[in-house]
C-alpha cells in the first residue's frame, strides 16, 4: 500500500482496568490531513504516545511507511521519518530558537557524533535550520532564548524543529492550543500547504481549524474510533453528534 | 554450620536491617514529601547519639537519654530546616547534595569542637544488658531484641501516621502533588518543617539506640548514611514500605555475606586467602545488590517511575 504511509491496526492498551485504546485502527494517506478528535479522556494522548513510540501497545501493530515499527523506539521511528510536535512544548528551554532547530537538523543528518568542529559554523546544518525557521515565521526571534518566547511562538518553534527532519509523516498534538486567533489563522494556512510535503495526523481541539483543514476526521470516544470520514460525514454522523459534538453544541 | 547458628545470624541480619530502617525511614520520608536529598541525615544521627550520651552521663537514665536524643535531633532538624533546607526545595539535586555536604562539615567539626575528639560513653541500660534465651536455645542479646521491637513499633507507627491521621493525609497529598497541597489551604512550610523534624527525630533515635552498642564519636553518621541511601534506593525513594524491605534486604545480605562468603570460598581455596577474598567480596556485596536492583528496576523495588 504505497498510498498509506501510516497504518495503525487494531491496537489496544490498558492501564489496569482502564482501556485507554480499545482496538483502534487508523490510517494516514499520502497528501492528506487526517484529524483525530474526541472529548477529553477519550484516549488521544495514549494513542499518540503509542504512535510516537513512547508507549508500546498491548496488542496490535503499527506500520510506518511499510515497516512494522511496533517495537521500535522513539528515536528509531523519528529516523524513519516521523516528525512530531507536542501538546505541551518539549523544547530545550535554555537554547535559542536557532539552537533548538539545529538539533532537528542534527537529527536529520543522522547523528551528533562530531566532536571537534563548531556546530554553529556548519553551513549545511545552519541553512537547513534557518530555512525551517523562516517557513514558520520566526526569523526575527532566531537568537532569542526559548524560555522567553510566547506560548504561540513555542508552538511555531516545535513545528520548525519537525520541519528540519523533512519527515514523511507529521504527528501533531494540538498545535493550535493556546494560540491567539491571529496565530491560529496563520498556522492553519501554513498547515494547509504543509500537507503537500507530507501528510499530517492532527490531534486538535480547535474545531474551526479541524473543519477547515481535515480531509478526513476520526472520532475517538472511550478508546474506540466510532467514526471515520470526511467533514460532512462527521458533521452529520448521529453517534458523533450524540457522543461529542452534541455536547459541544449544547 | 549449625542450624541454630544460621538462625541466629538471620536474626542478626534482621536486627541490622531494623537499625538501618530507623535511619532510612526519615531519609525516604523527607525525599518523598519534599524531594530533598539530605546528606546531613547522618549528622542528625550523630546529634542524637551525642545528646543521649551527654544526658545519660549527667542523669544516668537511659530513657531520659532516648528522650533527649529525639528532642535534640528534632530541634536541630527543625532549625536546620528553617535556616537552610527550605531554601533548597526548589533547587536541583546538585545544589541539595552540595549544601547538605557542607552541613556535614559544619556539624562534624562543631561537634568535635564541643565534645572533643575522643569517643563518648553510652551504655545499654542494666535491665537490658544480658541475654534472653529464645526457643531453640539461642541466647540472644536482650538489647538487640529490643531494637528489633522498637523498629517494628516505629514501622507500624509510621504506617498508621501516614494512612490514618490528618498529617499523614497531608503528607500523602504532598507526595503526589506539591501544588495541590498548597491549594488545599495547608500551611505547606509548617508541614515541611514538621516532616523534616520527624525524620530528624527518627535519625536521632537510631543514633542513640545504636550508640549504646557502638561508639559515640564524630563521623559516626557517614557510614550509616551511605548504607541508608543504599537502602532507600533499593526500596524505591519515597516509599516507607520500600525502606523497610530494602533495609531488611541490606541487613541480611551484609550479615550473611560476611559469614557465608569466606566459608564458601574455603571450599576451593586455602583458608586464609578464602577468608580474605570472602571478606573483600562481602564488603562489596550490598553495593553489588544495589547496582543489580537498579539495573532491573531503575526506580527501585517500590519506587514510582
Amino acid at each position: 500500500m504505497p498510498d498509506t504511509v501510516l497504518n495503525i491496526q487494531n491496537i489496544s492498551k490498558s492501564f489496569g482496568a482502564l482501556k485507554a485504546s480499545d482496538g483502534v485502527s487508523l490510517d494516514l494517506r499520502e497528501g492528506e490531513i487526517h484529524a483525530l478528535i474526541g472529548p477529553n479522556g477519550a484516549g488521544k494522548s495514549t494513542l499518540i504516545s503509542q504512535i510516537a513510540g513512547k508507549l508500546k501497545p498491548d496488542t496490535g501493530k503499527i506500520d510506518l511507511l511499510g515497516y512494522d515499527v511496533t517495537k521500535l523506539s522513539i528515536a528509531e521511528r523519528a529516523k524513519l521519518g516521523l516528525g512530531r510536535t507536542f501538546q505541551i512544548s518539549e523544547l530545550a528551554m535554555d537554547y535559542t530558537v536557532l539552537e533548538n532547530v539545529m538539533l532537528g537538523a542534527l537529527g536529520k543528518r543522522g547523528g551528533a557524533f562530531r566532536f571537534f568542529m563548531p556546530v554553529m559554523k556548519d553551513a549545511e546544518l545552519r541553512e537547513c535550520a534557518q530555512s525551517a525557521i523562516e517557513r514558520v515565521g520566526l526569523s526575527h526571534q532566531m537568537h532569542k532564548v526559548t524560555s522567553e518566547l510566547s506560548h504561540g511562538q513555542r508552538r511555531q518553534l516545535e513545528v520548525a524543529v519537525a520541519l528540519t527532519l523533512e519527515p514523511k509523516v507529521f504527528l501533531m498534538d494540538e498545535p493550535m492550543a493556546g494560540m491567539g486567533a491571529e496565530g491560529s489563522k496563520m498556522l492553519t494556512s501554513f498547515l494547509d500547504n504543509l500537507r503537500q510535503q507530507a501528510p499530517i495526523l492532527l490531534v486538535e481541539h480547535d474545531m474551526d481549524a479541524v473543519f477547515a483543514l481535515a480531509d478526513r476526521i476520526s472520532v475517538l470516544v472511550y478508546g474506540k474510533v466510532i467514526a471515520t470520514g470526511n467533514v460532512d460525514f462527521i458533521r452529520n454522523h448521529d453517534e458523533v453528534r450524540r457522543a461529542y459534538l452534541g455536547e459541544e453544541a449544547a | 554450620m549449625s542450624t541454630v547458628l544460621i538462625i541466629e545470624q538471620i536474626l542478626n541480619g534482621l536486627q541490622f536491617g531494623v537499625m538501618l530502617f530507623l535511619m532510612a525511614a526519615g531519609l525516604t520520608l523527607i525525599f518523598g514529601v519534599m524531594g530533598l536529598i539530605n546528606l546531613a541525615h547522618g549528622s542528625l544521627y550523630m546529634v542524637g547519639a551525642f545528646a543521649a550520651a551527654a544526658v545519660a552521663a549527667s542523669t544516668g537514665s537511659f530513657l531520659l537519654a532516648l528522650a533527649a536524643s529525639l528532642a535534640a535531633a528534632a530541634i536541630v532538624g527543625a532549625v536546620v530546616e528553617l535556616v537552610v533546607i527550605r531554601r533548597l526545595y526548589d533547587r536541583d539535586h546538585l545544589d541539595q547534595v552540595l549544601a547538605t555536604f557542607a552541613l556535614i562539615l559544619i556539624f562534624s567539626e562543631s561537634t568535635r569542637w564541643l565534645f572533643g575528639s575522643f569517643p563518648l560513653f553510652l551504655d545499654v541500660p542494666k535491665a537490658l544488658s544480658g541475654t534472653v534465651t529464645l526457643p531453640g536455645g539461642i541466647a540472644y542479646s536482650s538489647y538487640r531484641l529490643m531494637i528489633i521491637l522498637v523498629g517494628v513499633a516505629v514501622a507500624i507507627g509510621l504506617f498508621l501516621l501516614i494512612s490514618k491521621t490528618r498529617i499523614g493525609m497531608r503528607i500523602r497529598a504532598g507526595e503526589n502533588d506539591r501544588e495541590m497541597i498548597g491549594a488545599l489551604g495547608v500551611d505547606i512550610s509548617k508541614l515541611y518543617t514538621l516532616v523534616f523534624a520527624l525524620g530528624a527525630a527518627l535519625a536521632g533515635l537510631s543514633g542513640a539506640l545504636v550508640g549504646a552498642i557502638q561508639s559515640v564519636q564524630v563521623g559516626m553518621g557517614e557510614p550509616v548514611l551511605i548504607l541508608a541511601f543504599v537502602v532507600i534506593v533499593i526500596g524505591g525513594i519515597g516509599s516507607i514500605k520500600g525502606a523497610l524491605v530494602g533495609a531488611l534486604l541490606v541487613g541480611l545480605t551484609d550479615t550473611l555475606g560476611r559469614v557465608m562468603l569466606p566459608l564458601f570460598f574455603a571450599n576451593f581455596m586455602e583458608q586464609s586467602s578464602a577468608t580474605s577474598v570472602g571478606s573483600s567480596l562481602a564488603s562489596m556485596s550490598i553495593y553489588i545488590l544495589m547496582a543489580a536492583v537498579l539495573i532491573f528496576k531503575p526506580t527501585g523495588l517500590f519506587g514510582r517511575a
Binding site: A75, E76, R84, F86, E90, L91, A92, M93, D94, Y95, E99, N100, L103, G104, L106, G107, G110, A112, F113, R114, F115, F116, M117, P118, V119, M120, D122, L125, V161, T164 | V84, R87, L88, H93, L94, D95, V97, L98, F101, A102, I104, L105, I106, E109, S110, W113, F229, V233, S279, S280, S283, M284, Y287, I288, M290, A291, L294, I295, P298, T299
Partner: protein
Amino acid sequence: MISERFLNYTVALLILGMALGAWVMDEPFLITLTTKAVILALAGVGLNLALGQGGLISLGHAAFFGLGGYAMGVLASHAQNFTPIMETPFLIEGTNSMPIIWLVAIVVSSFFAFVIGLFSLRTSGVYFIMVTLAFGQMLYYFSISWPAYGGEDGLSIYVRNSFPGLNTLDPIQFFGICFVVLMVVIYGVNRLTHSSFGLALNGARQNAQRIRTVGLNPFKIQLIAFTISGAITGLAGALFADLNRFISPTMFSWQTSGEIMVFIILGGVARLYGPVVGAALFILLEHWLGGLSEFWHIYLGVILLSVVLFARGGLIGALSKKENADA
C-alpha cells in the same frame, strides 16, 4: 562586570604567574601547591563535562580518579621493582614513562566509565547519583582489601615518573607538564562543547524527549560524554598520583567525589573555567583556614553553603555578567 572569556584568560595567566613567581622567589612548595590546584582542576574539568554539560550528577567520579592513580601506581611499582605485571599469556612490563602511564590511565578509566555509564544511565535523578556512588564504593572497598598493591596502606613510588626531555622532579617542570595538559584538555572540552556533540549533549540535559523526537539517542550521547568525562578525571588521577608519588584507596572514597564536585560549584557549574577557579579557591582556603584553626572544616562548610545558597553561578558567575553559563 567583566566578560567570562576575559576572566578565563586572567585565571589561566594568574595560575601560570603564581607558579613562575614562586619559581623566581625560590618557593618550591608554592609551585607544588599550584600544581595540585591544576591537577584537581583537571579532575573537575572531567566531571564538569558530565555534570555541567550533560546534567549527569555523578557522585562516583572518585572511581575514575582512583583508577587513574592506580594505573600509575601499578605500572610504576612494577617498574620500580623490576617485576613484570604479568607473564602469561603474554609479558607486560611496568613502566615509568609518563606518556605511557597517561595512556593506560585514560584507557582504563574510560573503559570503566563506559561500563559504569552503561548501567547507571538506565536510571536518572537521585537514582543516578546513588548508583554512581555505589560503583565508587565498590571500587573503594575492593582497593582496600586487595593486598597486592598495598590495600589500605596504599603504595609509595619513590621517584616521580619520567617525561622525555624533562626533569619531572623539578617542581616547575612538573608544573609545566600539568599546566599544559590542563590547557590542552580545556581547549578540547571547549571545542567539544561547541560541536554538534556538545549541542546534542546540552540539549539532552535540558530535554531528553526533544532529542529522542529528532531521532537522536540521548543514552548514547550521554554514555559517550560520561566516558570522556571519566577518562579526563582518570588522567587527573594519574597526575595526582605522580604529584604525591603515592596512591591509596582514599582516592576512591566518596568524599573525594564530593570534593571534585565542590570545585565545580565553587567556580560555577558548566563554566569552562569553573573547576579551575574552584580548585584554586579550595586549595587556597584549605591552606588559609587550615592555618587559622584546627576546626577549619566549619568555615569551609559555611563558605560552601553560602555559595550554594546565595551565589548560584559560583565565583565566575559572581564576577561575570550572566548567572547562567552559555552553552
